[in-house]
Symmetry: C2
Subunit: 422 residues, 2 copies
């Protein structure tokens, strides 16, 4: 695999990861917290998380990586480059899961990074910049909010002290739990990153629907979330004539329809979702007096999000007047739109082209660690299809061929950014 | 108060009930199970129900009534008439309450009947037919279903054995609880009734809204209830494009709007309510995969109910196709429309006219014991306004003047049907 003229390895289409080894590592890690339905429950900073981290650290060390842990528990394994002055080219993701999670979400990005290292080792490839694999703490946010905690601290989005002081429902803090499982490190956080790549299952149906193998991720949708409360008046379903009602559920229903319309008006990338609704008193023969529901708007631009918000607020006023109820909408979350680094995106696209994989430019609808890392370093993501677009579910699945393809693209993109000695 | 020429009492506008005594009895009975917020919690067949029954029986006996109890616990107090062959003219309702009930719902109909008897006693009025006051068991249905159990057994709607075998959430049966509180009687049930009148707060806003004192109740709306299940597909709110969603809550919301439209198309008496809704998984960033909700249709005619059902089923098909979800609607309850006896209704109207009370023909939106009694005897109801149309609530309220007015109308109507000796 060496170029005769230069002695340097021929990288690109010629160098491929070991698909079986990557798959086997995914299946091995999935044993820790395995569920009867084939999923994984490995919640952040639990004993199972420790076991998962220990397994990954063992693999890092076996691959010759130098391991360090920062104070929020982010775990890094570095393979030295020829030029120790250059910041590392990093692949990463997370290994914590949802309570009923799958084998691939997060784990894939970490183990794809490890497989890149193993492949480089197998072929004796030396890179100019160091190559690093990162495991970010608490991406899922199921036990501790905020989500994407480790990458958020790394990127300076949250102060370290704030994150360490967060508690779960039992009152146990992040800091104490990190100490308990032995992952409260002392390595500096927020250190320079030359480029960051994250391979991930799409968690949506677009690649499968369009028969593409690789999603070249351009960025991530901005998000604005709202809590909406509709206040009407409880009334008997029988004796209360329709015109005299103050039906909070009727108003809420009209607003659900409006949220959907508002998102369709921002096709193709706009999203509008009401996922949560609570009706009171929720009795079949009482006109509901109060309904609370969530609104989740996503859009690739801040302007688009603003247009959606204005449309929502207009709908709240109109529906409130129409139904004789009070409507309050409060913004509770804002994630700005994220645009990945164009050179990193180009490296991903070139990787897909080099291997001849069908690929599609795509915008991530969900948040990922890469979105926070992108605030402090050039970053991009590689998506591969997942079965039926399903994730955060024990039946989450992906094909070995697609998993391998995404890792080959990762290998190519990382080498392009790290530079190969020669 | 005696007519000089005949020696018979002058009935009609001349004879009036004692408004203060009626109000005081309502307040006294409301002490049993009184809640801190001024309401009453006296759930059927509990110790508090026994105390309430004992109090009423004491009042019946003090008023000279002959008391009997039937096997489902219905309680009757009879004042003899001149003609023992004639079936009694009965006033009645119930004294069980909702868990957070008020002082008037049910209690008013019973104590208004008692006040009629006391007034006749005060004035030495002898009626041709006996006068009777009835207390029906378990009208509210909060501890035991079906609702309107006592009057239903009396009218042959449910078999006695079926009702006695019903159990509460702790497994205690109606029969055992009747024995325990000492109200498992042996008097025959379903005995002939000459006429039945029930005074009741409206439990709706129409009389207050139209500034009327008396509702001349023409009948009760028929009811058809449905359980609807919408099955879509859980999906991530971010990565799932709008056109690829199977959003069960969007479909359910469109159906809530449709139910409202269908009811408005049957103005003024049609009613359509979605009071209950359950969303799964009910997480703010997951497109809901399943929604269950109730539909409650009411209409004065069976034809009207059928039109509403057809419109609902059409909407289910259209919305299901539009949203790419499955919609199933199952009918779970049917109450046929009820038309009260025209002569009894005329007696109520004449009573309101005799006293000069502003009155309005009205259709009951809710079920009442009178609806079951009407299946076996001529019956009618008298509504009085309740504050803001609110009932089944501790803040349920009515004015002493309206309470007295309804009782005067009851007195007049009962005398008209019982006939006055002379």
């Amino acid at each position: 695999m060496n170029d005769v003229a230069t002695g340097a390895p021929r990288v690109g289409a010629g160098l491929k990861i070991d698909a079986d080894r990557l798959w086997q590592s995914l299946m091995d890690l999935a044993q820790i917290g395995a569920t009867p339905l084939g999923g994984v429950r490995r919640i952040t900073l639990t004993d199972l998380d420790r076991q998962g981290r220990d397994r990954v650290v063992g693999w890092f060390k076996a691959a010759g990586l130098e391991v360090r842990v920062d104070p929020i528990g982010n775990l890094f394994g570095q393979r030295a480059g020829r030029d120790p002055q250059r910041p590392p080219v990093v692949a990463g993701s997370h290994i914590d899961t949802q309570p009923s999670g799958g084998k691939f979400d997060g784990n894939y990005g970490v183990l794809a990074g490890l497989e890149v290292v193993r492949t480089l080792n197998d072929h004796g490839v030396q890179t100019d910049a160091p190559i690093e694999v990162a495991v970010w703490t608490n991406e899922e946010g199921t036990r501790y909010t905020p989500v994407m905690m480790g990458s958020g601290v790394f990127a300076g989005v949250f102060p370290l002290d704030y994150a360490l002081a967060r508690t779960d429902v039992e009152g146990k803090s992040v800091g104490d739990e990190l100490q308990r499982i032995g992952y409260a490190g002392t390595a500096p956080t927020g250190t320079p990153v030359g480029a960051y790549f994250e391979a991930h299952i799409e968690q949506g149906p677009i690649l499968e629907d369009t028969k593409n193998t690789i999603g070249v991720v351009m960025g991530a949708l901005g998000q604005r979330w709202y809590d909406v409360t509709v206040t009407g008046m409880n009334a008997h379903a029988g004796p209360t004539p329709m015109p005299l009602r103050k039906d909070a559920l009727l108003a809420a229903s009209k607003l659900v329809v409006a949220v959907n319309r508002i998102a369709h008006e921002q096709a193709p990338h706009g999203r509008g979702t009401v996922g949560f609704m609570q009706v009171a008193p929720n009795s079949r023969n009482v006109v509901p007096g109060e309904v609370k529901f969530s609104v989740d708007f996503r859009h690739p631009t801040d302007d688009g999000l603003r247009v959606m918000e204005v449309a929502l607020r207009t709908a709240c006023v109109c529906v409130g007047a129409e139904c004789n109820v009070e409507v309050k909408a409060e913004e509770v979350v804002y994630f700005p739109p994220c645009h990945f680094d164009l050179e990193c995106v180009a490296a991903v696209r070139a990787g897909a082209q080099a291997f001849g994989y069908p690929h599609l430019e795509i915008v991530s609808g969900a948040g990922h660690d890469a979105v926070y890392v992108a605030r402090v370093a050039p970053a991009a993501m590689i998506f591969v299809p997942c079965k039926d677009g399903i994730s955060h579910n024990e039946i989450e699945d992906a094909s070995p061929a697609d998993i391998a393809a995404g890792c080959n693209v990762l290998l190519h993109a990382m080498l392009a950014r790290a530079g190969v000695a020669g």
